[in-house]
Symmetry: C2
Subunit: 336 residues, 2 copies
Amino acid sequence: VSGLSYRDTGVDVAAAERFLTAIEPLVRSTHGPEVVHHPSRFAGLVRLPGGTSIAAATCDGVGTKTRHARAATDYEGLGIDLVAMSVNDLLPLRARPLLFLDYLGSGRLDPARLQAAVRGIVAACRRGHCALVGGETAELPGTYPEGTVDMVGFAVGLVDESDLPDPSSMAPGDVVVALPSTGLHANGFSLARAALFIHGGLDAESPFPGSDLTLGDVLLTPTAIYVDEVLTLMDRARVKSAAHVTGGGLLGRARAMLEPGLAMRLDPDAYEIPEIVELVRTTAGVPWSEMASTFNMGLGFLAVVPEGDAAAGEEAGWMRVGEITAGAGEVDLGYA
Amino acid sequence: VSGLSYRDTGVDVAAAERFLTAIEPLVRSTHGPEVVHHPSRFAGLVRLPGGTSIAAATCDGVGTKTRHARAATDYEGLGIDLVAMSVNDLLPLRARPLLFLDYLGSGRLDPARLQAAVRGIVAACRRGHCALVGGETAELPGTYPEGTVDMVGFAVGLVDESDLPDPSSMAPGDVVVALPSTGLHANGFSLARAALFIHGGLDAESPFPGSDLTLGDVLLTPTAIYVDEVLTLMDRARVKSAAHVTGGGLLGRARAMLEPGLAMRLDPDAYEIPEIVELVRTTAGVPWSEMASTFNMGLGFLAVVPEGDAAAGEEAGWMRVGEITAGAGEVDLGYA
């Protein structure tokens, strides 16, 4: 297989993983007994004094999706992405969003662009039920070249210790339910850009096949905010483990959910791979395994429930997409 | 006066303030009754359910100080700066640091540089008594040119509602006490760089007058972490208002502390202006008012206490630097 890979685009996922392994003991040295180590490592967890409440904290950016913005108004969607990336990461822990802060860094303050971003952040905070209580708008000439922006979000949520999902209770026969993504969300944009724009010779104004939209419009579709859907499912079903499908793609996130002795089989006919994902794959001949390790492949959020709760999940609008089996950590997508 | 100003270096503080004013109503639209609006706006405050505990959240970066790093090991100090900038901002609210998250953005992951940054972050989290519970290391080719890095920090602390300082209790005759800064901390680096390197023709290896250090060493001195000193003062004295002296400089932060009908007079003989600040001023002829609106001028943290508590402050190691008077928001530094 000789298609384009993420490594070719200048993003070294393996190096990032080595870095995280190297710093782990250092990071742990700051942890007192108040820090809770949960197998689902999407959020940091700290017990609050005098009770059973736990604060969950997350931090994420929107990656190089910002480079696809053409007009100032495109930053409104990027603001939604920013909130989604952090707030959705609270949900695998069943943490209810409490507050959000944003950091917008650029070389020169562009009020139209930044106000659009804040409009999106505000709309998304309302949808995610969290208060926007601060942030920083940094003007750093020299760090950012003219026109580039980085956006970073930070969310805090609350969960009662007894409500934390218990991945160790997962067992063969459990059902995987999922929510559809709205497209690429905010991951894999360096690969998508290289595949479509450099390898494929397309640009933001290229028509998107089978629609009235441009490729730029489709790429910039904001990330879904899953707060209501996930918390409702968790009220109605016993969710044993859950994942927001982001960095590492569907394959990486699904693998990370598995406890020793388990595997996951997903039914490729149970959900649709977004056309934008197919376009990236076919334009640059990206191998399926690379695609599924980079993109969400159409599934934005996964949850594992007992068979007896699968119907409740489907009634709450979730798709039944697969099952937990005995195994050694394999994830079988049917195509990668 | 025709000396160098911050505006000349590409940083438009007035535009930033207009932006903040423009977004204020939008931001407020996300605030339910759980959000606490305190006159000291360093941190966002949200009441936790079922009690009197309040979460305080802050976000800040280290600005263009990163551009002064020469070797990977210099990032260790920048990691300390990063924690200091967010954690010190919790302290004016008397919030006890609980957790910290970092975001490190660059074009290409440089493990030596990033591991040094994490070493500094970890050391500073220990000094500030907060757990490093997460973060994001983003590799964004295209957003960041080779060699540039942005560092963003987020901190959460806790304060009981009854312990929040009450700035409305400030009155003429109250005393201003302060802690010394270690140098420029992490503010005003675009101006310092322009003054020293461009206007003055100096470079990082230039000897720093009267010492064995280079100019680069002095510029990179890490920001002080004031957690222990401030919380101890707040235990021993009635602190009515406090400020971490960052963006806006000593003048801007002191002005922002004042309630209507009050002014502040600081004694220029009560503290020392750091030599690096003097070097920036004299090298480029920066006006005193511009200096004091950009740099901390040697005072890293301010607190207002009643006259009767000033001695307790001095015993706790704070400098007595000035007083609150009747007035209309004037801050008299004796030189700007």
